[in-house]
């Protein structure tokens, strides 16, 4: 029941963010949706994800607010809007077709397939010595995935610093 209330709150926040004309208000509404996601993770008994979601949401909210304060609004002309609607509708239709096909195959909500996860839950503490089972999985059983994630973050930092660096930027005067 609590989960449904949070979900309705998040849907209202998302619709508000789309419909608002004021950019700062829309950013605040997006932040409310993110904090709702964090509380939903708490109700679903995933405190690790709740902490990460809360903290990353705050960081991205700060960056978005600073971006809204500094940049001008970009308005797309009417003809361009009309042309871009048709590909979007076609792609949404293709996506919905495959999503409906896939949704009939997955197990129902709250009763997952416990093939690999059952073994992790039974022998995670005895094999790794870590009391937090999430840490045991992401840093011992599935540590190669974590290495890949770290590589993604490293590439993102290098990309941002390479685009915005001061050395070698062409002076526009």
């Amino acid at each position: 029941m609590e989960l449904q209330i949070i979900l309705v709150f998040m849907i209202i926040g998302a619709i508000t963010a789309v419909e608002l004309k004021d950019l700062l208000g829309a950013v605040i509404a997006v932040g409310a949706v993110g904090l709702g996601t964090s509380i939903a993770f708490l109700f679903l008994q995933a405190p690790d994800l709740a902490i990460v979601q809360l903290v990353v949401e705050i960081l991205s909210l700060i960056i978005l607010i600073r971006a809204v304060g500094m940049k001008d609004e970009i308005v797309i002309p009417k003809e361009q809007q009309l042309i871009s609607v048709f590909p979007v509708i076609i792609f949404i239709a293709i996506f919905m077709y495959f999503a409906v096909k896939a949704l009939f195959e997955i197990p129902s909500f709250g009763s997952p397939l416990m093939k690999v996860a059952q073994r992790y839950l039974e022998s995670g503490l005895n094999e790794t010595g870590a009391a937090n089972i999430v840490s045991a999985i992401i840093l011992d059983y599935r540590a190669l995935d974590t290495l890949g994630e770290a590589t993604v973050l490293f590439t993102a930092v290098i990309g941002v610093l390479a685009v915005i660096r001061e050395i070698g930027r062409i002076k526009q005067k």
Binding site: S135, D140, A143
Partner: protein, 155 residues
């Protein structure tokens, strides 16, 4: 206030920041070091540590925070985190033939060490490496994205 980040905010914000920024930094370090015992871990703790420096930067202005943690130092710390993480992986490969083998505890960890701070072998080491990587990386991205001066904007 948004238009001029160099000046810093009002005295109310500065006073509150002076009291809270140390607690936020300490909470981030706690989350990282207890990552294998309680919810949290390297990623969440690293972002909290980066947020404490961002808090300092928003309240006191760019120069005060960059004096404590410069962009160059954050780049060095991020690379150090990546090197520690890969080194732990390769030591496991050399010792046993498997990447990320838990070379401190082996296949069967000591039962008496469960739920202690010093347990679980390489997992706290990896948490610290990821914390350095994520914290320094996100701080660098924040400084680059929010505080860079756009040239040719004023003409």
């Amino acid at each position: 206030m948004i238009k001029k980040p160099e000046k810093g905010m009002t005295i109310i914000v500065k006073t509150i920041t002076r009291y809270t920024v140390g607690l936020i930094l300490l909470y981030g370090i706690y989350i990282v070091l207890h990552g294998h015992l309680t919810p949290g871990g390297g990623f969440a703790g690293g972002v909290i540590i980066a947020l404490s420096f961002i808090h300092l930067m928003l309240a006191f202005g760019k120069e005060t925070a960059l004096k404590k943690m410069s962009v160059k130092l954050s780049g060095i710390l991020e690379s150090l985190g990546a090197i520690i993480f890969v080194t732990v992986a390769i030591i496991g490969l050399v010792v046993s033939g498997f990447l990320f083998f838990n070379f401190l505890t082996g296949q069967k960890p000591n039962i008496n060490s469960f739920f202690n701070l010093f347990s679980a072998g390489i997992i706290p080491l990896c948490n610290i490496a990821i914390c350095l990587k994520v914290g320094a990386g996100l701080f660098g991205i924040f400084v680059a994205l929010v505080f860079f001066e756009m040239e040719g904007k004023n003409d």
